[in-house]
Subunit: 194 residues, 2 copies
Amino acid sequence: MDFFYEFASTYSYIAAMRIAPIAEAAGLTVRWRPFLLGPIFKAQGWDTSPFNLYPAKGRYMVRDCEREAAANGLTFRLPEPFPQNTLLAARVAVGGLEDGWGEEFSRALYRAQFAEGRQVGDPQVIGEIVDALGQNGAAALVRAGSDDIKQKLRANTEEAQRLGIFGAPSFIADGELFWGNDRLEQALARARET
Amino acid sequence: MDFFYEFASTYSYIAAMRIAPIAEAAGLTVRWRPFLLGPIFKAQGWDTSPFNLYPAKGRYMVRDCEREAAANGLTFRLPEPFPQNTLLAARVAVGGLEDGWGEEFSRALYRAQFAEGRQVGDPQVIGEIVDALGQNGAAALVRAGSDDIKQKLRANTEEAQRLGIFGAPSFIADGELFWGNDRLEQALARARET
């Protein structure tokens, strides 16, 4: 199953913290696919998160994420500003996934952002998070600037768009799109059937 | 618990077909509150359903509603055109709820629209649906045009807006807003606690 996530996405945070043990219990392998919602939102005329564009929806999202996080033993707070710039973090994740520490980095980045309220657009913060995993933060940041990594992240975003993805998290199981943290279990069930 | 529903809303259909037995099993009374999303959407700059404004989201919604409907033993099809004009149906529901047949009417109206693909903006179709419940369709249509009923529907929509409602279905339990068919169980659980 493919797990498309955007670091700025609040519900992707909850899904990212939930997915590994559930997938493992189901005997499924999950392919982590960081991507950017920015270009997809821009294509439909949005220049920021819909939670900023539609304040009633934004206020509800915070309340709902607090409830959903609490139900999963997680803390939730909205970072300031919201959304954070997640381009660099996504590129670091692409490199980390190739080197085997990308999932752990993704969870750590989410925790820093949505539990601790850190500035995860800041290269220094990202480097510290990588270092804390026992990896080389400085090297990861350099690699994140390479054409190879930039192109791979762009490819993820283009594939997401081709697959009809319009939000995050999104799961692709057996060619079917499932959108939202609420659909994680259904996506896994579908992947298990096939 | 209050159940705010809009007849044109696909996920309100599924929630409306599910809510009565679940609430009864939980020993809870549900107050059915038909309202109009149109004025709320207009206030945020939309002149039609977000599922039309954002086609990728619209395509996904159809697929997701088919899956959710099937999981609940229901049929789902998108009516043509979508959304239907639901002003008259909502007014008839307000009258029917006062007379004790509004819930049954609401379910029948939803079934006609989303299972049978009927034109539920058509007064004749609405009248037939009321007649089929053993009530007086012609009288219900006349009453739907009264200032009293118009005002009561307007009051529901205004209250929805005041409560921070931005979509349907929405549930209010213990003053907390829960949005979406996916949150029905959580809303009932919250209502049960209080």
